[in-house]
Amino acid sequence: MNSLIILPILIPLLTGIILIFFSKNIPVQKLISVISSLLMVLSALYLAVAVYQDGIQTMNLSNWEAPFGITLVSDMLSALLVLTTSVIALACLLYSFRSIGKERESFFYYPVFFFLVLGINGAFTTGDIFNLFVFFEVMLMASYVLLVLGGTKIQLRETIKYILVNVISSALFVIAVAYLYSVVGTLNMAHISERISQIGQPGIVTVIAVFFLLVFGIKGAIFPLYFWLPGSYYAPPAPVMAMFGALLTKVGVYSITRTYTLFFYHDTGYTHGLLEILSIFTIIVGVIGAIAYSDVKKIIIYNVIVAVGVILFGVATLTEESLAGSVFYLIHDMIIKAALFLLIGIIVKITGTSSIKKMGGLIHQYPGLAWTFFIAALALAGIPPLSGFAGKVLIVRSGLESGNYWGAGIVLLSSLFVLFSVMKIFINVFWGSPRAYRQQEPVPAKWLLAAPAVLTAFAVLYGLGTEALYPIISLAAETLSNPEIYINAVLKE
């Protein structure tokens, strides 16, 4: 029993509510939001340390005993994800201060931003399948508002599609939970896992597993359910795009990881075989998109899809090593995607266009931007010793060990194409002769560069410190591959 678990959920909730009252006073909003983001990072850090030292932390809300009430569970994976989310939220917030614009700031941008963080942290922390649905909805509601805020034509159009897709997937989520409830008669995730292993996963549970894959696959953008993502993520401004690209799809990926390691691990030949095939196709379509487009935003957006595929390939292999690789890669990808989205946000702001054919020569005027982008691009592709390397090595090695040469080969090959796609941006945008760009207002490039530069530095440190971080990551993977640890922590205190 540890009440600290709720802090990373409670802080953004209270901040969001308080900020609503200061909607016209922007300096106060900024001050409050920075203070509470810092508090959130500190509490998440404290929580991660507590989980590392004392094992899984749980909290029964309203003191209802475990299988009956809603339980919050923080194991190493969820603590790490909450910490990463809080850090990225702080970075995006600081970036927003000078880029998001007055009209969005005075129409509840910051409160909604915190509600989004609330939903994400809650989804990572909850130990109750229906509560996961509720936090999904909190997160989605905030994302609808962030997506449409500003009201440009493309935003309105894309938000309609995005809401429709998510309303359908939410209805499917409710249906999947209803089916699961009728089979196992409980909603507590640890209790569900225990009951499914008692009945030994009959056919109906496998059907429900595929249903859950469908639901989370829509949110996490796996093949063939990724169709909505490139359009919707294209519309909002850079900091919102960074939050979406770095965090929202990862919530779907986390949910697949959680359900496929905790509930549905008895019939792996079918469920995980399906997940493996889908993840490989996800990588392929992502790579094709990343190569085909000559639009900076689109290239990075398709790289989000590639990363989803790589992480889920590790989950589908389902060995302790591959799960460690997936956790490694998941956190790496959250950090580096946020950095890249913020960087291309600066590029788009400077040049006033997002087509790489209309840019060139930025390295002369903005060398800091160019080199930060270069390092972030190498880290994305997984060049050692940067952060993408360790995760990919573990995923590929365990894929080879389990005899899946095709899958492992495609993961390896995808790194090459990912590198090509980001280097295409680097060469076209930063090299060549400088051009004159029409800017409506001066771009505070130094300020804007701070947040992605710090995130890139984190990515570099994360790569260099792989050896030191490995015990922490393997602790997360150990919990994932042995559901008994999770069950014991929740049900038998």
Partner: protein, 113 residues
């Protein structure tokens, strides 16, 4: 009773799918409403239907209905109510801004090149 509910839910899903495939934005929103109604009734049916018993009657009650699906539906109804309200306002704003509620004509060039 369960069979009857299954048919009802099936019809709701069918109409919802039909409406969501149409071009008019308003019909699509009505479709999402029907879809969530179907999902809510499905939760109720999955919890097991029982006549003539209240959810909670103390520890020694002879018969009681499962209260959990009802609690879930309540939550889901509130959420879908909020989303539908937001969707309607968005649709109206999009109609003002884009001048159409036809999904085909809403397709723009920006971001689709």
């Amino acid at each position: 009773m369960e069979i009857l509910m299954a048919f009802l839910i099936g019809i709701l899903f069918m109409s919802a799918t039909y409406l969501m495939l149409s071009k008019s934005l308003l019909r699509i929103i009505v479709g999402t409403g029907l879809l969530s109604h179907g999902a809510h009734l499905l939760i109720l049916t999955m919890g097991g239907l029982k006549r003539g018993a209240a959810p909670l009657l103390g520890q020694h009650a002879e018969a009681y209905a499962d209260p959990l699906p009802q609690a879930l539906i309540l939550t889901a109804i509130v959420i879908s109510f909020g989303v539908t309200a937001f969707f309607l306002v968005l649709a109206y704003r999009a109609y003002q801004e884009l001048g159409t509620d036809n999904m085909d004509r809403m397709r723009g060039k920006e971001g689709n090149e």
